[in-house]
């Protein structure tokens, strides 16, 4: 049971990164369906940079620097995808859905190429990521559940909390939400809609990208076994599940993680049955959608202009 929960948390944090980034993006009014591709790019950029770094320093790698190199590269790589998305949708006014889907395909392609260059095994790098507090083992179940994790797990929660705070408690957050709700209003209030959308989308994509890195380095212990785009879609589903709130996403992500891996911990489930179990997060998301729609509370609805481009002089 304990192992199941620990696993659920570790996988959940992949979703948490993905959906925190997507929430930030969606709050600005951008429906970025490129998140699966962005997470792939984040993972592969982080791995590729790590591969170059470890190759150049030989056996004397600094753990802190190793983590930093991977995290920063993953963030930048993914943020560049966000920049591409913003450029296409804000500056060139492309359709957001089409652009997002194109980015997903592109991202998967890019990551396949980079992994072909760097190999699929990052076991050495993964050691840095899975290093946990030395006294965690002495604290029994508490230590294992809360303190045994690698650095990315805590980073994910910290990022989600910071995002939640920024969105609800600061001027920047208020402005950002207004851009996603009603860009014409934000514009009339003197807020630079394009800049907010660019920045939110790039930072959001960067955060999502860290989810990809977390999956490879932490959850899979450095073995690039399969492409991770499925987790991107789940992250987007999680955004709906948590009704656009990063603080709820912390718990939501663990629920998603648990649902996704539940089949492996139940004895006697057939292969087909396992796949059925993996459907659960999507089913839950649909149920949440049904409930939020039925109650039609304004508070729990997506940002009003989600997916819509804004042009000031359009009549």
């Amino acid at each position: 049971m304990l192992a199941f929960l620990v696993s659920a948390i570790r996988l959940g944090m992949v979703f948490l990164f993905g959906s925190t980034g997507e929430i930030l993006t969606e709050k600005s009014g951008h429906l970025n369906l490129g998140t699966p591709g962005i997470m792939c790019v984040g993972a592969s950029c982080g791995c590729f940079a790590e591969y170059l770094y470890l190759k150049s320093v030989g056996p004397y790698a600094s753990p802190v620097l190793a983590i930093l190199v991977a995290v920063v590269s993953a963030f930048i790589g993914a943020a560049l995808m966000g920049l591409l998305f913003s450029f296409l949708t804000v500056t060139l006014r492309a359709n957001q859905n089409v652009t997002g889907l194109a980015l997903t395909t592109l991202g998967i392609g890019i990551s396949d190429y980079m992994i072909a260059k760097a190999g699929t095994s990052f076991g050495r790098a993964s050691k840095f990521f899975s290093a946990s507090l030395p006294f965690a083992d002495d604290l029994g179940w508490f230590g294992e559940l809360f303190l045994s994790h690698g650095v990315m797990i805590y980073l994910a929660i910290a990022v989600a909390i910071v995002c939640s705070f920024v969105l609800s408690k600061t001027r920047v957050g208020l402005n950002l939400r207004s851009v996603g709700e009603n860009p014409a209003t934000a514009d009339a209030a003197g807020i630079n809609v394009s800049r907010y959308r660019y920045v939110a989308t790039c930072v959001g994509a960067g955060i999502s990208g860290l989810g990809g890195l977390t999956f490879i380095m932490d959850y899979l212990n450095g073995n690039w076994e399969y492409c991770i785009d499925a987790f991107g879609w789940l992250s987007i589903a999680l955004v709906i599940f948590t009704v656009w709130k990063p603080n709820l996403a912390i718990f939501g992500s663990i629920v998603f993680g648990a649902l996704y891996i539940a089949s492996s911990y139940i004895v006697g489930v057939s292969f087909a049955g396992k796949e059925l179990f993996k459907l659960l997060p999507y089913v839950v998301t649909i149920i949440v959608l049904i409930f939020t729609s039925m109650r039609s509370r304004k508070k729990n609805q997506p940002p009003e202009s989600l997916g819509l481009s804004y042009f000031r002089e359009e009549r």
Binding site: E181, T185, D187
Partner: protein, 509 residues
């Protein structure tokens, strides 16, 4: 001029080949209310959008306190203490009043909603507003939303306030309250520019009036030295008789009997409460009421678009003499029964027409089922489109131009033209002249009169009481979903209707 707050010189703005403003110049002084008067499409809103930074002029200069300024964005406008209250409120629905008010502000002080809410209350007290700073926008009435808009610009310390048709959505009482507040602001030394096409408001509120016609500046007059006739002439360029033609109703039969219909919204509030009336052929039945009193729901219920919880809608078929109950029939079933209801919805582009399609295609929306083959027959609708364009003087480059590119008046003509072409026996029109200039309005009135003379039962939902009084034969007044009165338009007075309009509110019905 010594105390000119803002001065415009030779402002020109074009959208593609359309000239919205040409060589417009005028000044606004400190402590004065200036009305900008003009027909629809005369460029009033475009001009104000240039002062508030939404659009940028192609040429011309703007001076504030005698100094030339460049206003490139709404932020620049704030910096020059200019605040605009738009016709369509620019508010975020899921934010509270205070959050909307402080939106976009870059204060050096700490971000503190409570402090801001306190400041909002102070401003409310100073000018006599009535607002709860923590109320969410989506829970507010139109008048409250407007109040938030006004406080928003005051909060930013605006000295020059621009109001774009602020009274269009208000009741007469709310309008009076607003005017009192505006006068208080003027006495406080603020400059107020108000855009309107209601002449009596211009005369009662403003100190001076500037008139625009087709994007050009006609002139400015002191309100005290002018009258309605002169202003109208400046506005339209020629004298228009204010008399709307009205013929005596002939051969009236009961066409539509509405009996005790009730309608409850999803939130459980009563939208229509035991509404009963009769619409007769050969007459125009006016429906008066404050916006949102249930007019829309009533028309939609008749047209089959709104579910009704109880009651009957009986239609007397003039051909067979049979009675049909329209309740809970879909719009298509209503048509198939031979019951012809032509419906001009309030929201022209939302429910009536498809904005991205041309006039021909929009005509086909009503007639495509008539085609005999699987392929579309375009000839009939195309001819109809041509006919509407020539008869109603629709200004458009062609039948295939997307209707969203047309101005409001022309869109309305297309919509009304199409509905009339269906040769209805009952024609319902909701605010068919909303946003139209005087000439287009008269075209619509004439069309409705023509239908009346043909024996059509016309139901006209209007907001201008003067028009209702002159155009209709009988006027049904509704307030908060109840019928509060049915009066003879030839003998009643404005005051009587105004009283009936406000009656439903606050009373237990």
């Amino acid at each position: 001029m010594a105390n000119a707050a803002i001065e415009l010189k030779n402002i020109t703005k074009t959208f593609g080949s359309v000239v919205a403003n040409r060589d417009v110049s005028f000044t606004v002084n400190r402590g004065e209310i200036l009305s900008i008067l003009g027909e629809n499409g005369s460029g009033k809103t475009t001009l104000m959008n240039m002062i508030s930074g939404i659009y940028f002029p192609d040429s011309g200069q703007i001076f504030i306190d005698g100094k030339e300024v460049v206003i490139r964005s709404p932020k620049d406008a704030f910096d020059h203490k200019i605040g605009m209250i738009h016709q369509h409120f620019k508010l975020v629905d899921v934010f509270s009043a205070t959050e909307n008010i402080i939106l976009g502000l870059k204060g050096k002080d700490k971000f503190n909603i409570k402090e801001s809410a306190k400041k909002v209350s102070e401003i409310s007290h100073k000018y006599g507003f009535d607002i709860d700073p923590n109320k969410m926008i989506h829970e507010m009435s139109v008048s409250e939303k407007q109040t938030v808009e006004i406080i928003k610009v005051l909060y930013r310390g605006a000295d020059i306030l621009i109001l774009d048709e602020p009274t269009a959505v208000l009741t007469p009482q709310e309008t009076q309250k607003l005017f009192a507040i505006l006068r208080r602001m003027r006495d406080d030394g603020k400059s107020i520019i108000i855009i309107t096409h209601k002449l009596h408001e211009v005369l009662s509120l403003s100190d001076r009036v500037s008139v625009l016609r087709k994007g050009e500046y006609v002139g400015t007059v002191n309100t005290a030295e002018t009258n309605e006739g002169e202003l109208t002439e400046m506005m339209v360029g020629k004298k228009i008789s204010l008399n709307i033609h009205r013929s005596e109703p002939k051969g009236c039969e009961d066409r539509l009997l509405i009996e005790n219909i009730n309608c409850v919204s999803r939130e459980g509030t009563k939208l229509l409460n035991s509404v009963s009336f009769t619409a007769k052929s050969g007459e125009i039945l006016g429906i008066a009421g404050i916006a949102g009193s249930g007019q829309r729901e009533l028309l939609e219920a008749i047209a089959g678009l709104q579910h009704i919880d109880s009651g009957k809608i009986i239609y007397n078929d003039p051909k067979t003499g049979e009675e049909e109950n329209l309740r809970d029939k879909t719009p298509l079933q209503i048509r198939e029964l031979g019951v012809r209801l032509s419906f001009v919805p309030e929201d022209r582009l939302g429910m009536g027409l498809v904005g991205n399609m041309g006039i021909t295609d929009n005509m086909m929306l009503r007639s495509y089922r008539k085609g005999k083959t699987v392929f579309l027959e375009r000839k009939g609708p195309h001819d109809l489109a041509e006919k509407i364009i020539s008869e109603l003087e629709v200004v458009t480059p062609g039948t295939e131009t997307p209707v969203r590119r047309l101005s409001g008046g022309n869109v309305q003509k297309v919509l009304v033209g199409r509905e009339i072409a269906a040769a209805p026996t009952v024609l319902m029109a909701a605010y068919p002249v909303r946003g139209l200039d005087i000439n287009s309005s008269y075209t619509i009135y004439n069309l409705l009169n023509e239908q009346k003379e043909r024996g059509v039962a016309v139901i006209f939902v209007g907001e201008d009481l003067d028009v209702l009084l002159e155009l209709c034969d009988r006027i049904l007044v509704i307030g908060s979903g109840c019928v509060t009165g049915l009066v003879d338009a030839r003998t009643t007075t404005k005051e009587e209707i105004g009283l009936l309009m406000t009656k439903g509110k606050g009373e237990e019905a």
